[in-house]
Amino acid sequence: MSESLRQTPLTALNAELGGKMVGFAGYEMPVQFPLGVMKEHLHTRARAGLFDVSHMGQVIVRHADGYSGAAAAMETLVPVNLLGLGDKRQRYGFFTNDAGGIMDDLMIAHRGDEMFVVVNAACKADDIAHMRAGLEGCEIEEITDRALLALQGPAAEAVLEPIAPGCDIMKFMDVGLFSSDYGVLWISRSGYTGEDGYEISVHATHAEALARALLAHDDVEPIGLGARDSLRLEAGLCLYGNDIDIATSPVEAALTWAIQKVRRTGGERAGGFPGAARILHELDNGATRKRVGLRPDGRAPMREGTELFAEAEGGEAIGHITSGAFGPTIQGPMSMGYVSIDMAASGTRIFGEVRGKRHPVQVADMPFTPATFKR
């Protein structure tokens, strides 16, 4: 393992549990545990999986006017209704650039008097610099002394409730601070697997003890990045850097659901975020390509980079795949990618070129597995 990789408060435990450690976004992270990717995936959907996501960036944004001040400032960087976000609620969003591309996707929480933000590991340095430069009147504090765990799956509530009493009544995208034997836990009822579950921020000094307490439960297994990827893909969720990046707009990426009406043309606070001209135009008139779900025929996965064609032979590519894998729950291959808008309707039959041969693939609705969030 390279000396330059950073560790999380759980790196030693991950290794002790038999995690196969790899470098990911500059951190030493477990790609899988002895259970293996397939079983880890299925276990998470059947019971509960524990993920170390401490590599992600945790940031608090403070303003003299409290949350509303931070929200008003943040609305200049994201096309999301943050002033309308309720207390102890969280919302998905993305930083856009002047060209209307996506700089990163993130979670934004209303914590009463301040804002809490979780960003991707690979983007966090840029995101923090972007917030420091762009959020007028705000204090940006990167939280570096806390781990972040995700407990995902149908057993998550029953496992966490004894540790954080009251977390059972939280609904999807609720956030709260809970006193526990492991210090104050910052809990959100969310995750990135399509399952019900929680993300738990815990002080580094208590992180390993909390992880061990959760893992002591019969229903909980440690889960690596491999299964995290197949779980999020089955759930139809984007991986930044693969499925969305600075070259994709939120409309192309089919993330328009995250741009509330109040930020759109005719809304009370329409625009006012980087790239608004393009994004509002595309919201009104459509984009020329769109992110779609794809189900290849047969069993062979069509992976990232696979070119897509309208016909079995000849013609120019009409798009490409940005993520592709075998879905353990759906027991078949699944992909997502971008296709020209005339090919984007669910049920459209197109072709993916794998190792020089074109194979049929169907545009399909996402998620590939139904989400089980507690609404």
Binding site: Q32, G36, M38, G226, S230, F326
Partner: protein, 119 residues
């Protein structure tokens, strides 16, 4: 039984060579979800890419370890590719080849040498 540096095993059986991948290789690949086998009757040359294995992690090529003609493939892998993980040197075999020059086998490792190779 002989072993290649590409983590294939070769076993002579009734005048043909049965070929698969080693347990070590199947562990490294992770859960295998798809195996694209060559067609029976295909004439292959040593180091041709003749099989594609898709695991939960990635696609990998398997090379022909020896010159010859493919005389049988393990059709069961089409529906149950996980047999490669469960029984790599048994039910998880890939194909049988009629070797045109069986002496090519002599270059490969025996089990002890292979164990040292992967240690």
């Amino acid at each position: 039984m002989k072993f290649t540096e590409e983590h294939e095993w070769l076993r002579e059986e009734d005048g043909v060579i049965v070929v698969g991948i080693t347990e070590h290789a199947s562990e490294q690949l992770g859960d295998i979800v798809f195996v694209e086998l060559p067609e029976v009757g295909t004439e292959v040359t040593k180091d041709d890419e003749i099989i594609v294995i898709e695991s939960v992690k990635a696609a990998s090529d398997i090379l022909a370890p020896i010159d010859g003609v493919i005389v049988e493939v393990n059709e069961a892998l089409a529906d149950e590719p996980s047999k490669v993980n469960e029984d790599a040197i048994g039910d998880g075999w890939f194909f049988k080849i009629k070797a045109s020059d069986p002496s090519q086998m002599d270059d490969y490792m025996d089990e002890a040498a292979y164990q040292t190779f992967i240690a």
